[in-house]
């Protein structure tokens, strides 16, 4: 990841490393290096699942002072992401949002918004417009 450090960062968390990486590829195709981006997928043993430690590392990689939006697939990805956010230092935790949006579409649209310099709140709101209320 390079450049765009001032823009909101995007983290993609899937149970599957292939899904996470694929979603990240789609984000890159859309916005290049203009937003900080990281992904993680799979449990600590390398199988399908999620890994709080890996999520923490991804947040670190995609960190931006403007904040980070996290996209998750199923339940455990969300619960482990919430746990990870709580383990991040307090000053940063308030600038991390787990989005209620589809993982692929949400991440791509959020990244497009972030690449234009939008605030974290705007990035999150745009992605969440995709979700049924």
């Amino acid at each position: 990841m390079t450049g765009g450090r001032e823009n909101v960062g995007i983290v993609i968390v899937s149970h599957s490393p292939l899904v996470a990486r694929g979603a990240a590829d789609m984000v890159r195709q859309m916005v290049g290096d203009s937003v900080p981006l990281a992904w993680c997928g799979g449990n600590p043993a390398g199988g399908l699942g999620t890994d709080t430690g890996a999520i923490l590392k991804a947040i670190e990689e995609a960190w931006s002072e403007a904040g980070v939006a996290i996209f998750v697939d199923l339940g455990g990805a969300e619960t482990n992401s919430e746990m990870a956010v709580e383990m991040v230092d307090k000053g940063r935790a308030g600038r991390i949002v787990i989005c209620n949006a589809p993982i692929v579409e949400g991440a791509v649209i959020a990244a497009a918004e972030a690449s234009g310099g939008a605030s974290l709140a705007k990035v999150v709101a745009t992605a969440q417009e995709l979700s049924p209320t």
Partner: protein, 211 residues
Amino acid sequence: MIVISEPGNAHDCAAWMGRVIEACRDAIATEENRLCDLDRAIGDGDHGTNMRRGLEALASERQRLSAMPFAEAMIAAGTILVMNIGGAAGPLYGTLLLEIGKGLSIDGLEFPQVFQKAVTAVAQRGRSSPGDKTLLDVLYPLSDELTKHTHPQRLAGKVQGFADMTIEMKALRGRASFLGERSVGHMDPGAASCALLAATVCRELTEAGVA
């Protein structure tokens, strides 16, 4: 791992903690396939494997944990579970232990109160309530029994009954909820592992002569 109270002096406590961790690891290892089968019926089939990985990680650190003050050990153990289970169960069991550790650090709180608060934190973490067919259906009644000061030996015999109650429930949280009515008729794997661990800890307490 659900710990009922702190036994005896520091040395006894350390030895006891090591034994409990080993007993929990062994119990999960023995039941790994059953937990996976339960999870396969209504989820993704990895609950036994995930729990085993978490308990193995805990067991590999048992000496370090045993040397710590009890509350601190609970916090460290919770973090180990969060980092190693690798499913939704990680944050749920992790939160339980972390909150027990934090609660024990507050002066004047009795263990049943500490446990009750920790169970509430687990419910918040999972955004679930009792009756949703989750491990909370074991934790809440267990908490009630602790408040009533039920003897651990008696409790060890009761907890499986709490997990059995989830068979007829319809799942409202987690992947099992995608099955709707079809989740009825299967025991919740999280409730099953929770009952197993609670019974194991209760038996260890009984053997240590802690009421």
